[in-house]
Amino acid sequence: MAYSDKVVDHFNNPRNMGSFKKDEEGVGTGMVGAPECGDVMKLQIKVQNDTIVDAKFKTFGCGSAIASSSLATEWLKGKTIEEAQKIKNTDIVQELNLPPVKIHCSVLAEDAIKAALADYQKKAEPK
């Protein structure tokens, strides 16, 4: 199975790879997947005034999983919380040209986005 050029590019040059401190102000962290399933994604967003100003990821998984999360961080930057909620796994499939056996990678990336947003919103709620 050959990988699409975009998957190879994200794999070789991952965008926004790294971590924020979880307890940092405005940071939301989403961790999805399981080691037994062969993929775990950690996706983090940094939010200021309802806008995602920065995003980072770390991923254990195949090339398509790494590319899906790398792409997700690229798309998240500059979006409002509301806009970020609208990112769909099918958008990722289309952009990266993922074959059917790799669709679960995009689903995982969408789950990671949702989890990071939910974590941010939970932390932002007045105590």
Binding site: E36, G38, V40, K58, F60, C62, A65, H104, V107, L108
Partner: protein, 405 residues
């Protein structure tokens, strides 16, 4: 050094140019049918086939008449297992095999089971992937007609105590089939000494052509009989009909002859390169685990799990080196290697495994390049791995509640 490097010699091997030279006259010039008994074309083909039969038999210490040509080891496995079951159905229907056999054996057993034609015992293996001969003995019942245990495993290279199993089979009067595809030509095989009654192997794993294999079928003590699985002209003493692929058989013969002559020096050279590869990787990378037996394994095999990184991404990061992984992402089934699972290797480490398969044409320079690349990519992907980050922070990954999907 030419890229890409081929380090996947368990899957197949490049053909030795000397094998190709031996084959070439049998395409255009000497194209006869080995079954044509009445003209020179047929005689030339028959002579070539019988010469190859001798070369092949010599490598495994058999009589040339005990070699039945097939299309490859998968067919040989099918023919041996289904052929014995059908022939000896009056005696019983029980097969004993192991949980790390090649799919050609396991799926054949499962298919017979599903059709109600056999009952099958799948023996467990120890943490190194080895079958315990005493388990074989205990599993034998008065309905057992066949024991099928592989010589060496295709993923982890572990060599089974075949001679001990052969002895038990003899003692109990049960036939013993051995899938020796990965072992023949790489380690000494002696069907007499090992007590093997039927043995599958193929040409393309030993620098011969694809599309031809053999089933060794013992002729005396005991005389083994199998029911043919294909009807036709009754070739190969009625056990396998079909016109013999003379060029392929000539190549198979030549490949066996070369292995016979060169195995002693080649296996030492391959083991030294393999050990250099293993040491070079292990020295620089922590939490890299050897899968398989530390000493009882094929000289050209190395299987390592790199904790916290996934196998397919490792392969993707080393695209100028041809390797294989036990990761689910590289299999059609989306399940990680059942062989590694049978050893008790955790699922997450099975996802992280890489198989290195060395061969006749690999060089020290290629091995050094591979060591460098493995260290680079494992380091890079661990930087990227949330699991590695957590482990370094002291989080016990086993205690984490993962959201399985």
């Amino acid at each position: 050094m030419k890229l890409p490097i081929f380090l996947d010699n368990h899957s197949t091997s490049p053909m030795d140019p000397r094998v190709l030279d031996a084959m070439l006259p049998y395409f255009v010039e000497k194209f006869g049918n080995a079954a044509s008994r009445n003209h020179a074309f047929g005689w030339a083909a028959e002579e070539a086939v019988e010469n190859a039969r001798k070369q092949i038999a010599k490598l495994i210490k058999a009589d040339p008449k005990e070699i039945v040509f097939t299309s490859g080891a998968t067919e040989s496995d099918n023919l041996a297992i289904k052929g014995v079951l059908e022939m000896y159905k009056e005696k019983g229907d029980h097969i004993i095999t192991s949980s790390t056999e090649h799919r050609a054996v396991i799926d054949t057993a499962k298919s017979l089971e599903a059709k109600g034609k056999a009952t099958v015992t799948y023996l467990p293996v120890d943490k190194f992937g080895m079958v315990n001969p005493e388990d074989v003995r205990k599993a034998i019942t008065d309905k057992t007609v066949l024991i099928s245990v592989m010589l060496a495993n295709n993923e982890i290279g572990t060599i089974n105590p075949v001679k001990e199993i052969g002895k038990i089979a003899k003692e109990k009067g049960v036939l013993f089939h051995c899938d020796a595809t990965q072992g023949v030509g790489k380690i000494p095989v002696d069907v007499q000494d090992m007590g093997i009654d039927l043995m599958s192997f193929s040409a393309h794993k030993i620098y011969g052509p694809k599309g031809v294999g053999a089933l060794y079928v013992r002729k005396k003590n005991p005389r083994v009989r199998i029911a043919a699985q294909m009807d036709g002209g009754g070739h190969e003493r009625g056990m396998r009909s079909g016109t013999l692929p003379v060029p392929l058989i000539v190549g198979f013969g030549k490949a066996c002859e070369l292995c016979d002559q060169e195995m002693a020096t080649e296996s030492v050279r391959l083991a030294a390169m393999r050990d250099r590869l293993q040491a070079g990787i292990m020295k620089e990378i922590d939490e890299a685990y050897l899968n398989g037996h530390p000493t009882q394994r094929l000289p050209h095999n190395l299987n390592i799990s790199f904790a916290y990184v996934e196998g397919e991404s490792l392969l993707m990061g080393m695209k100028d080196i041809a390797l294989s992984s036990g990761s689910a992402c590289t299999s059609a089934t989306l399940e990680p290697s059942y062989v590694l699972r049978a050893l008790g290797v955790g699922v997450e480490l099975a996802h992280s495994s890489i198989r290195f398969g060395l061969g006749r044409f690999n060089t020290d320079e290629e091995i050094d390049y591979t060591i460098k690349k493995v260290i680079e990519i494992v380091t890079k992907l661990r930087e990227m791995s949330p699991l590695y980050e957590m482990a370094k922070e002291g989080v016990d990954l086993k205690s984490v509640q993962w959201a399985a999907h």
